[in-house]
Symmetry: C2
Subunit: 501 residues, 2 copies
């Protein structure tokens, strides 16, 4: 009886997942190959799918099945069935608490806000964007109040991206991280030493870059029989089916790291998707965990692996051969330092691995103050600049390089930024745990062997899908609750290596 | 009241068209960029859309609206509203006469038959395919009986591709065509002259071919802001939206005409789609006419334009520069002769413009005999070979080069082949009419001006969508009922030029 209901529920969810995967293809195509004039109709096609998906997700039949299934006390909450019911029910209940009017208003408002944000950033005119931002925050607060929260209104927003995470847990971790990062960055900037990053600039023809990126992605384990690599303005990773994961990058002919590190990053996301259980595609047992966990996979391959000395022991000679660079032009150590430079900057997406988290912390702190009402939108630019000065030692000279730089808030993504840093924290903890379990990762990387690490991630993270809450999964796998220490150890060791006297 | 109903009908049809356009994108992607391992799930995605589209197309609500609207005697049958009601109603009634069981059985049977056909062709084993072909014919006959016909069971099959066409009209035209073509081809083959087609073979690097094909497609009027050109195994043209028409080709590094003429052909299809009324996208006033009319557009650009001497007066110097071929290597006349060679061959898709129609006529005659029961599947290979000998002077030495060469019958496409030759007939008539209306087409082509011809086609064909039955439209625009004379004049003039003593 219960099994029949569960089968029906799964059939419903699989059909919804099919529509979502179709939507993903339309969005991927929009960014990659769609002709210029096709965008208006593409919006219609997407709206048509969105509306079908929404009515499937709010189908009253779903509630009946979920109620019936969740009344059964015997089900293990971390079994395929238990997790499916738990996760889908939570999403269903959250969605159903949102008044339809509010959902519509948010869609309309964020769509307009994004357009206005583009103009405001171009014109360096925060005043133009401010009323829209006020409206977005107001609506997101109304939404948070409608869905409810235990401690903090902001928690209801984080929950959209990192289920069950709370400001009262994340806050202290990020405070600690900040308190260690600020002096760490100052050590680097005050050392009088600067990385030989001139060697990253040069002439790297795009077809050769593409071939190189492809070979690196393949070497670390991204499966091109089940995925693709294409070019877009902003790199991303998209799931078009259980065996169809598409990553993208952009190429700068004169700066190799731009494409290479975004390929490592997106391939990390992609290998996570490729490691999920395909027989449960689109259902919680076969679906990726929180955004923090997803980001941990991309950051781990980008930073812990892709900026390590052993990684470059293997790949630098290949890179030199590929681009016909003399091995005498610079040393391995120069190259590794160059890709690990610590240098405060104003733009988040161009930040190095170490300073990046300070960019996030600024946003995390300001978001909370905006949502709680302790900060007004009018005072936001000043607060932003002051915080940048304090944490990064730099003050933006204009808002387009400051508070206007990110699209997120205009898109309603409040509570999203902290997941980037959670990803970095998780990545550092996972990498330490993998090293402890496997041993000798350095030697493996130097020999071009990445399969053991990928297998470890498959077993410990990918295969679990959404069976466990993210923070529980990380604690369980790493033997430590999420915290700042592992990341600090990782970053500290690099500063010690390159910037200490 | 009537207007409200019509608005509701249109809303319904537009939503269905959106789903169909999404399906087109999935199919295009499947042929172009989809990763190898993604095909099983793609089939699920497509099945999900097919089923949604089918239930929209057979929605009982549709019948009520159509009944109400078709009862109004005042509506001009060739107005947007009149044509919409007429065309949609006819399709609805035809579909609703097909028993669901039969539709399912045909889907299953043709899906299996296509797989078996692939093997049978590979193994050159007609016996393997014969039982499936018998089954396909049997089911298609049952379907024809279910939907009904006035004169001939075969008419119900042609009607799927060329509405209202009948064997009793097409038959005599194709008989006349055959009776003129057979001696015409014999004139060429018996002339002792052979085209200098060695010059078409050589080294044509694919990236350069692609650039050249793109420039030619653009020059004749294919709009790349509203379309694309990609590579697939079999060239096709696909509509992904009112401003999103995607054509494909394949490249042979050693033989330029393969890609170039398929681009001209598909661009012809594409420019038709791009010339439809976008505000009526997916509805009869904005939808392409019969397959014959569609094919007339591709053939006209491929043959009447693309094999003409003035076309090459303009493009040959460009081609020579593009591929760094010395202008002294061969003359314009040599080149034009080479691309107009008449030489009987066994494979339809490789046939030249003149003999091509004989390939079609063989199939058209055999199909009718199979459907009427005058010919059995067991006797088909012998009948095929005999007919090739008689019309083309060649006898296939094996069935893989004979009766097994085309996928069509395995896919249930019986009654489809004649539309290829109808396209050639229409193209010849339309080109004569355009020359009569516009005058001086030769001079325009030689000057690289193709816009007047395209504009004429837009006005006389494209803008009419499905407002008129195809054969009426052709008769009206050309001032002649569809017939064989124009095509024979066109082909005769080339044989006279190149092969007469």
């Amino acid at each position: 009886m219960l099994n029949n209901t569960f089968r029906r529920l799964c059939r419903h969810l699989r059909e919804t997942a099919r529509l979502q995967s179709i939507q993903a293809l339309l969005e991927w195509d929009q960014q990659t190959y769609m002709p210029a004039e096709a965008s208006d109709y593409r919006a219609e096609q997407l709206a048509c799918l969105t509306s079908m998906i929404h009515s499937r997700q709010t189908d009253p039949q779903l509630k009946d099945w979920l109620d019936e299934l969740s009344e059964s006390p015997q089900t293990d909450p971390h079994s395929d069935m238990g997790a499916t019911v738990r996760v889908v029910r939570r999403e269903f209940l959250k969605e159903s608490k949102k008044p339809a009017r509010l959902v519509e208003e948010l869609t309309r408002c964020t769509s307009l806000a994004q357009q206005i944000w583009i103009e405001a950033r171009k014109d360096n005119d925060f005043g133009k964007f401010a009323p829209m931002l006020e409206q977005v925050i107001k609506l997101r607060c109304e939404e948070a109040d409608a869905v409810g929260y235990v401690e903090d209104r902001y928690d209801a927003m984080i929950d959209d991206y990192e289920h069950d995470a709370r400001a009262s847990q994340i806050g202290p971790i990020l405070d600690n991280l900040r308190d260690e990062l600020v002096p760490l960055v100052q050590t680097a900037t005050g050392s009088g030493k600067s990385a030989p990053n001139g060697i990253l600039h040069g002439s790297f023809p795009i077809p050769q870059q593409e071939a190189f990126c492809r070979s690196v992605a393949s070497a670390i384990g991204f499966d091109f029989e089940r995925g693709r690599l294409d070019v877009t303005h902003h790199p991303f990773c998209s799931e078009v089916g259980p065996h169809d994961c598409r990553i993208t990058t952009r190429y700068d002919e004169h700066f190799l790291p731009s494409a290479l590190y975004s390929v490592l990053h997106e391939a990390g996301h992609g290998m996570y998707e490729q490691g999920l259980r395909s027989d449960w595609y689109g259902l919680p047992p076969g679906k990726s965990g929180s955004l923090g966990v997803h980001e941990s996979q991309s950051r781990l391959w980008e930073n812990q692996v892709g900026r390590s000395r052993p990684f470059w022991q293997h790949f630098l000679p290949r890179l030199q051969r590929h681009f016909a660079i003399s091995p005498h032009e610079f040393s391995l150590d120069d190259w590794v330092w160059a890709v690990n430079e610590v240098r405060p900057s104003l733009i988040r997406v161009e930040a190095d691995e170490t300073t990046y988290n300070l960019h996030i912390i600024v946003r995390f702190e300001l978001e909370q103050e905006l949502v709680s009402g302790r900060l007004t939108v009018a005072d936001l630019p000043a607060a932003w600049n002051e915080r940048y000065e304090k944490y990064l030692g730099l003050r933006p000279s204009k808002d387009s390089e400051g508070v206007l730089q990110d699209i997120h808030w205009s898109a309603g993504l409040i509570g999203y930024f902290p997941t980037y840093t959670l990803g970095n924290l998780y990545a550092a903890q996972l990498f330490e745990a993998a090293e402890k379990d496997l041993g000798g990762l350095d030697g493996q990387f130097a020999a071009g062997e990445f399969a053991p690490l990928l297998k470890w991630l498959r077993t410990n993270i990918h295969r679990h899908g959404q069976l466990y809450p993210s923070s529980d999964l990380i604690s369980h796998v790493t033997g430590q609750v999420p915290g700042h220490q592992a990341l600090i150890r990782h970053l500290q060791s690099k500063v010690d290596l390159f910037y200490r006297a």
